[in-house]
């Protein structure tokens, strides 16, 4: 058995920030990740990280308001206040660790404009900010000597007497199963994009943490809030950064019209993502699209801007849409991008279970509410990663070590062996995942309605039955990805269930959750979060009011 004070599951920005903070608090920390830390999906964040530097004339309250308005007033305002007031120091702390943020003429940090905000307060490193932050955090983890278990996969959490005591894990390279005992566990496993097909997310984004917690009866919150990014490519779902619109690109329909004039006359293309995605989908549905797409038009920006500032997406357009961005508009459409919801936590990362913490996309504090602003996700991971690391370290100090129940490994081994022993003729995980992804993308996308979501729920039940007889064809122990994907599919089906049930529950339109059968926001009845957890007899749906501090809900116009 392996022993640590604090076990962090996931080595993206939230996980490594948490590990660093816990380590600085003087406890023994380990990070476990199913991929090497620098392979984590935090890499993919291109545009930047928001922070209002109050002492430089951008009060953090303005950032908080933009965030809350962006969330369609579903964000908990106390949490947003924490995030926005601590943002400046967090960004500067990362700079001190070595992040090569872009500079202004005086050598101080420089900013760029991003969607849904009235100020340019996005700090950035070219068009790979997430990668630049992730690699620096990995450097720091090496520096302080935090133990990392790379390519280890978590099978389940160890919960005894209502408290999280560690995790049962599989070493991918050998297939061996181990118990890691810990006084506190922090889930930082990222998003669940692969529940949808297509998605901008990496193949590793399978909602492991949310499902691990959900299975132990921990509450998930705001799961119905799934962000569709306005600009993704049709062919492979690749993301075309919001940076393009930040630099002044237009969105046009088949008539060549800048249709955002009709939906967001002030902010135009830089309105919040839910608004832009919905506008695009409306254009497409009303017949002003081409092949299910509208267009991102960069022609007027000129080759210089395209080559210097948008080189990465220009390459993507060339490779995967056969389009030269400087000469033709790029066909794009809304694509699944981010899960605002997740494991319900407080501002210190505490979940509804003692000893279990969560941070980053897998958590829901909730700072994003119904819709996340671009460049707020990196900030969320760092601020709440750090806070949960600090709190977990303190908590761990007060925990008395106790022996764990016997037979934990046997239990997991039996489950896996059952899967491995199933005859090879059974269905493979691939087709089930594809059916799930397409169902979710059809029924829980930009526009939803009661009938569609009900259909999704029943389809998911059917898929779960199919999953129960899924076959693992690779019978080996070494690097058995076939087994791994099958286990991940089990996690994803749990997440899909939580999303569909929460969606059905919210009987209004708010943020990313837009119901064609109930198109209005209803603050009177639904200014509250939906919680879903798994009880002995199936899912339990509850709700809790939104925390309002200083910003009363208003009509949302861009």
């Amino acid at each position: 058995m392996i022993d640590h004070d604090v076990l962090v599951i996931g080595a993206g920005l939230a996980g490594m920030r948490a590990a660093l903070a816990a380590s600085e608090s003087g406890v023994d920390v380990a990070v476990i990740s199913k991929v090497h830390p620098v392979r984590s999906h935090s890499n993919a964040a291109q545009g930047g990280i928001n922070a209002a530097l109050t002492d430089r004339g951008d009060p953090w309250e303005d950032h908080a308001f933009d965030t809350i308005k962006g969330s369609d007033y579903l964000a908990d305002q106390n949490a947003v206040e924490v995030m926005c007031s601590e943002a400046g120091r967090e960004v500067i702390a990362m700079e001190h660790m070595g992040v090569i943020f872009s500079r202004d003429d005086e050598g101080r940090l420089g900013t760029r404009a991003f969607g849904g905000q009235r100020q340019a307060r996005t700090f950035f490193v070219a068009d790979f900010t997430g990668q630049a932050l992730l690699h620096v955090l990995y450097e720091q983890v090496l520096k302080v000597g935090v133990r990392t278990y790379e390519e280890w996969f978590v099978l389940s959490l160890i919960v005894e007497e209502g408290q999280c005591r560690g995790a049962i894990v599989m070493e991918i390279r050998t297939g061996d199963i181990h118990v890691i005992r810990a006084k506190a566990v922090i889930l930082a496993t990222g998003g669940l994009g692969r529940v949808f097909e297509p998605s901008t997310n990496a193949l590793i984004c399978t909602g492991d943490g949310m499902a691990l917690a959900y299975r132990e009866g921990v509450s998930l919150m705001d799961m119905e809030m799934v962000q569709y990014h306005p600009t993704t490519l049709k062919s492979n779902g690749a993301l075309m950064s919001e940076g393009a619109r930040g630099e002044g690109a237009y969105l046009i329909n088949s008539d060549g019209e800048r249709f955002m004039e009709r939906y967001a006359p002030n902010m135009m293309e830089l309105a919040s993502r839910d608004v832009v995605s919905r506008s695009e989908q409306t254009e497409i549905l009303e017949g002003r699209g081409v092949d299910g797409c509208v267009f991102l038009d960069c022609r007027h920006l000129g080759e210089k801007v395209i080559n210097e500032k948008l080189s990465q997406i220009s390459d993507l357009a060339r490779d995967f849409a056969n389009v030269d961005m400087s000469k033709q508009p790029v066909p794009i459409r809304p694509g699944m991008h981010y899960q605002m919801g997740g494991i319900k936590t407080d501002v210190d990362g505490c979940t509804s279970m003692r000893g279990l913490y969560a941070a980053g996309e897998t958590a829901c504090v909730s700072v994003h509410g119904g819709n996340r602003l671009g460049a707020n996700s990196l900030l969320d991971t760092l601020v709440f990663g750090r806070r949960s690391g600090e709190h977990a370290a303190n908590f761990a100090r007060g925990v008395v070590e106790r022996a764990l129940n016997d037979g934990l490994i046997d239990r997991e081994n039996r489950g896996i062996q059952a899967m491995m022993d199933r005859a090879g003729e059974g269905e493979l995980f691939g087709s089930i995942r594809l059916d799930m992804g397409r169902t979710m993308n059809e029924r829980l996308a930009v526009f939803r309605d009661d009938e569609g979501m009900r259909d999704a729920v029943s389809k998911l039940t059917e898929l779960r039955n199919r999953f129960d007889s899924v076959a693992v064809t690779d019978k080996g122990k070494t690097f058995n990805t076939n087994l791994l994907f099958t286990l991940e599919l089990g996690f994803m089906l749990d997440c899909a269930e939580a999303i569909a049930l929460s969606g059905l529950e919210r009987k209004e339109s708010r943020g990313a959750h837009f119901r064609t059968d109930m198109p209005e926001r209803d603050d009177k009845n639904w200014l509250k979060h939906i919680l879903v957890s798994r009880g002995a007899d199936g899912p339990i749906i509850e709700n809790t009011p939104v925390i309002i501090t200083q910003w009363e809900p208003q009509e949302r116009k861009y």
Partner: protein
């Protein structure tokens, strides 16, 4: 389009202990990548195929492998661009041990990254939590080129030095080291450069450009290694073979406009490095005997004063025009004289060693008649003797002269 993916497979758990190629025929769209093809195989055809992949957009660095013999990211390599008569050959990345199929063991890779102490080490007390370090945007942009590295290992896979010497830090770790040496906020440049100056460090790169060619992110690892060398020499680390070689070479071009092949090895090893100088003697003898004799007196190109003017204008480290001129001339003269002298002595010794029969057996007529000479351990000495005995060859000075005429 129909594509055959020929995948090199290896499964340590199976009875088959060596790797083998397995062909998968898949129907793919025109825009599909190698990774799309492999995922299709894995999900629909053969679930046992193991590979690493994640982001599908060339940012996570998981899917570096050899495609048609060259390291690439499977996710940004379009099938249509590389398919060769319907086939694409996919193998695991090189220079790393195969774990299973296309999955290789990255531990040595990460160990080397860790070896360069890859973290910022700023000087002074803890900084003000509300104030960033000041740095120019230009410096940050230069570093952005290196920070774009996604640690995919493509450069390590195809590095020609790692192929012969696993001890070499390799392009990825050295580029990472450069990232800190070049960071104006880092205060550890000297110890870093000192470490990198050691065996296995910056000077072991052959500048073969493999890493530049295969890097999917334009990091230019070799260019970074060259910058490290420049910084090391500028910092005063000038006593390594590499630094001496670089400086002697440059000085030769400054003085004569061309490489001074006689003084270069002597200066690279160090004039007073007797052991190494002696070790070079056999090669010197062979060269002399083969007629590979560069001009003994350093031969200045016509119009060399123009080249020297350019040096004076642009050579930032060395503006003392004639600093090494005298040693070069002396060594240029001395080394061939010494080597020729040693050659003659060696020849005389060997003449005693080989009896006259064995020498006569190597006469030109034997060669002309086409008789095949059996291999002996000393075959190159045989060749030397043969050349030496061959009246045609012994007139090689004449050839040099006619050569010089041709030049004129």
């Amino acid at each position: 389009m129909e594509v055959t993916l020929s995948v090199k497979r290896f499964d340590p758990d199976s009875d088959q202990h060596s790797s083998y190629n397995q062909d998968y025929v898949v129907e793919m769209e025109e825009s599909a990548t190698v990774l799309d093809g492999l995922i299709k195989v894995r999900e629909e055809v053969d679930g046992t195929l193991a590979l690493r992949c994640s982001c599908r957009s060339a940012i996570c660095g998981s899917c570096a492998m050899r495609v048609n013999g060259q390291a690439r990211l499977a996710c940004n390599t379009k099938l249509v661009d590389i398919v060769d008569s319907g086939k694409v050959v996919v193998e695991p990345a090189g220079n790393m041990e195969v774990v299973k199929d296309l999955v290789v063991d990255f531990s040595p890779f990460w160990d080397k990254v860790r070896d360069v102490k890859p973290w910022l080490d700023p000087e002074g007390p803890d900084p003000d939590p509300d104030q960033e370090y000041l740095a120019s945007n230009e410096a940050m942009l230069d570093l952005a080129g290196v920070m774009a590295c996604i640690m995919c290992g493509a450069c390590v896979s195809d590095c020609t030095v790692l192929e012969v010497d696993p001890n070499f830090l390799g392009p990825a770790a050295l580029a990472k080291a450069y990232r800190f040496v070049a960071d104006p906020r880092d205060s550890d440049d000297e110890p870093r450069l000192s470490d990198l100056n050691e065996y296995g460090g910056m000077w072991d790169c052959t500048r073969c450009m493999q890493c530049v060619e295969v890097c999917p992110k334009g990091v230019d690892p070799m260019g970074r290694i060259m910058s490290l060398r420049d910084k090391a020499m500028a910092t005063g680390y000038t006593s390594t073979y590499g630094a001496r070689h670089s400086m002697a070479f440059t000085n030769g071009v400054r003085q004569e406009g061309r490489v001074d092949e006689l003084s270069l090895p002597v200066l690279s090893k160090g004039v007073f490095n007797i052991v190494e100088q002696i070790k070079m003697i056999p090669l010197g003898i062979r060269a002399q005997l083969a007629g590979k004799r560069p001009p003994i007196l350093p031969h200045k190109n016509p119009g060399q004063e123009n080249v020297r003017r350019i040096f004076n204008r642009l050579d930032k480290h060395d503006n003392s025009p004639d600093r090494l001129e005298i040693p070069t001339a002396i060594i240029g003269l001395a080394s061939p004289v010494v080597l020729t002298f040693v050659a003659i002595i060696a020849f005389l010794i060997l003449q005693f060693y080989w009896n006259s029969e064995s020498v006569s057996g190597l006469k030109p007529d034997a060669y002309q008649s086409g008789s095949v000479e059996p291999f002996t351990r000393f075959s190159y000495f045989h060749n030397c003797f043969w050349f030496y005995c061959d009246p045609e060859t012994s007139g090689s000075e004449l050839v040099v002269n006619s050569n010089a005429e041709a030049e004129r």
